[in-house]
Each structure stands twice: as structure tokens, then as C-alpha cells.
Symmetry: C2
Subunit: 225 residues, 2 copies
């Protein structure tokens, strides 16, 4: 009988430790009644523009903080602050995702006192951020129309772990061959419970429904035991 | 004057520590006269098939070991062993790249005694593996014709850090709109010193040149001080 190939499981401890740290963050956020939402997408899908409009639409309803995570840029953090949110820029230094330890460091450095809602704008990448639990209570993925309706089929994990999907840039729908129904069925196949909203962060189309839903989960989160 | 946004540099220590560990591995390999080549590519570009043909073509010239790195599969390690190389399967457990610590663990578990050449078949991903120094002395990227001649423009870093690029599946050139010259100029723009070979791991076309070059760098490596 042929010998079996030796299989070595690397880094299992890294993932286990990350899960423990993520659970601690979720517990702390729950106690402080601060909802944390982890925003994932490809580069260029409109994460920052979507957050800017969301922050403005929540004015007077919720105090928002944003941790902008990027390999090395810092323009987005200024844009976010101009929209009225507290913000901090986290440089991952080449790391392709946020983990729970990085989230905790960002929360401590930004300061979370008085915030109702904290967004993590994760590194622009559909693979690695989906693998690592950040400690956020809600995962949100933005898919933009020009990327194509087949993205859920190509990057299943990020859709499997996402509670909310915003399909952005619907104002460009007419110039792209984007099948809304097919996109929805592909997402629902991976994750039947995903809430899907079609929006344009540029024109504001679809934001009423998205903001209304966001307000409802914020209120539910605040009043839960 | 508006306050500056706070910028936090995360994980700098992780990258610094990795570089130190990578340098130690390179020194150890040099002392042992064992050349280590880190093989990167997208999934499906033909890493394993290319390694199988390369191992067979080196029979009698060099003793080869391969560390197969994958999220959770183990089929490739058996294929590699059948081709005549020592092999081990490393499961990264969701980690999207190999780092120097993982390489070292793999080397210890596989055993490197008597080997002349060690390949790391890195995780199939063009982004993250390029960010982390594995400790290999040579980086090699495989680009397959069906992926398109624009990959170097889309994933510049992996080409910047690669000493060798194998353009694979050239037997399929006639059915794809792949511009060889454009591809070469895109790679050379990012990395003027990259050695580029056009091969087909299926038919063996172009392997004579690639294997001859590989033998020459193996001999140079063995005879260097």
C-alpha cells in the first residue's frame, strides 16, 4: 500500500484565536449598544460614496464612526469626516484583510464613546476579508453593477457570510448587461437570509428603503437584551 | 486649521518579523545549496501540471521536493509524488498566502535532506502571496493564456516581485485573443529583469528553453560562495 502523503494543518491556532477575539468584540459592542457593520467589496465598487450618503441620511438619528482600512491610502478618511462621522485611517501595511485584533486596535485608537454605529470599511478584496471574522455583528457586501451579476458565483464565501448586500450603481444598469433577477437568485442560493437592496450612491435611488432598514436594525439592536 | 485624521499603521511588526524569518530561510537554503522557488498564479493556470513536467524533465539532474499549499485540498501532493518528487501537503486553513513561518514549518515536516530544489506551490491567488516573503530565493509566476494578456496590468505586484514568468497553455493561443508582445512589454514595464518563457505544460512546447534555464540557475546557485 502506498504511503499517505503527510498533511500539515497550518495556522489553525490563528483562526481559533481570531474567533475568540471577534466574539469578545461582539459582546463588548452589544453591552455598549454600538452596532458594528463590516463593509466588504471589490476596489471601486463605491464603498466610500455609499458610506458618505448613508452617514448623511442618518444625521440626527445615529452618531456614526468609520474605520477606513486600506493598504496605504488615507483620502477616504477625510471624505468620511466631511460627511459628519468620526473617522480613523487604518493602514494594513499590505495585509489583505482586517482581523479581530486589528479591529480592536482601530476601535481603541478612534475612540468609540458616544457612537451608535461603527462601520469597518474593509480592504477592497472579495476573498480574504470574507475569511476573517472582524468582530462586527453585521457583514455587508457591496456589489456594483459594472462588476457583473456573476460575482456571487465567482466569490461565494463573501456572500455566504453577508447579512446585507447592496447592489450599487443601479443608475448604470442600462449600459451594462446586468440581470437583476439572476443576481438575486445567485445571492439567495448562497444565503437565503441575505437582505438585498438595489441602490445608487450617486443619485440616491433606493436609499430610502436601505436607510429605513438600517434604522430598524439599529433600533432592534439598541433595545435587545 | 482642520485636524489631521489619525493614521494607524497596523501589523508593521508582522511584516518586519516575516522579513527577518524569510532572510533566515534564504541563508539556510544557501548554506545547504538548496534552491527554493516560490510558484504563484491564479487558480487553474496550471501550477501542478507545470511542476509535474518540470520534475520529470529534471530527473537524474536534481532531486526535487514540493510543498503543496492549499486551503484544504490534497490531490496535488499525490500527483507531484507520482512524478518523482518528495511532497507534502500544507493546509493554510483559509489563510490566503504562505509566509516565512509557514514555509519553515513545511520544510521541517517534509524534510529537506538530499534535495537540490524545493518548490513552494503557493495558494492560488495573485494578490496576497505577492505581499508575503516566503523565504524562497526565486519567485516564479505562471500566467495562462486563457487568463488574458492584461493580467500584469491588473496584478502588478506579483509581476514586480517575480524573477521568472512562465506563460502557460500556449497551445490554446489560437482560440484566445492573447497578444504575446503586449504581454511581454507589460511584464517588462513592471520588471525589466524578469525572465519570460512561453510554454505548454500539456504538449511540452517551450520546455526545452525553460528547463535549460532552470538547470543553469541551479548550477550557478550550487557553485556560488
Amino acid at each position: 500500500m502506498e504511503d499517505e502523503i503527510k498533511i500539515i494543518e497550518l495556522k489553525q491556532n490563528v483562526f481559533k484565536e481570531n474567533e475568540v477575539n471577534a466574539d469578545i468584540i461582539r459582546k463588548e459592542c452589544k453591552d455598549a449598544k454600538q452596532l458594528m457593520i463590516n463593509v466588504m467589496s471589490s476596489p471601486g465598487s463605491g464603498k466610500t460614496t455609499t458610506l458618505v450618503r448613508t452617514i448623511k441620511d442618518l444625521e440626527g438619528f445615529a452618531s456614526v464612526g468609520v474605520m477606513e482600512c486600506d493598504i496605504d491610502a488615507d483620502v477616504d478618511a477625510y471624505t468620511i469626516r466631511e460627511a459628519g462621522a468620526r473617522s480613523i485611517q487604518l493602514h494594513t501595511g499590505g495585509m489583505c484583510h482586517m482581523d479581530a485584533g486589528m479591529t480592536k486596535q482601530g476601535m481603541l485608537e478612534m475612540g468609540t464613546d458616544g457612537l451608535d454605529l461603527i462601520f469597518i470599511e474593509n480592504v477592497g478584496n472579495l476573498v480574504c476579508p470574507a475569511e476573517f471574522d472582524t468582530g462586527a455583528s453585521v457583514n455587508l457586501t457591496i456589489l456594483s453593477v459594472p462588476e457583473g451579476d456573476d460575482k456571487p458565483a465567482k466569490y461565494p464565501l463573501v456572500y455566504e457570510v453577508s447579512d446585507i448586500v447592496l447592489v450599487n450603481k443601479i443608475d448604470a444598469m442600462s449600459v451594462f448587461d446586468f440581470d437583476k433577477d439572476l443576481c438575486v437568485s445567485r445571492i439567495k442560493e448562497l444565503n437565503p437570509n441575505a437582505k438585498i437592496f438595489f441602490v445608487s450612491s450617486k443619485t440616491g435611488e433606493g436609499f430610502e428603503e436601505w436607510i429605513s432598514y438600517l434604522k430598524s436594525i439599529l433600533e432592534d439592536y439598541k433595545t435587545q437584551d
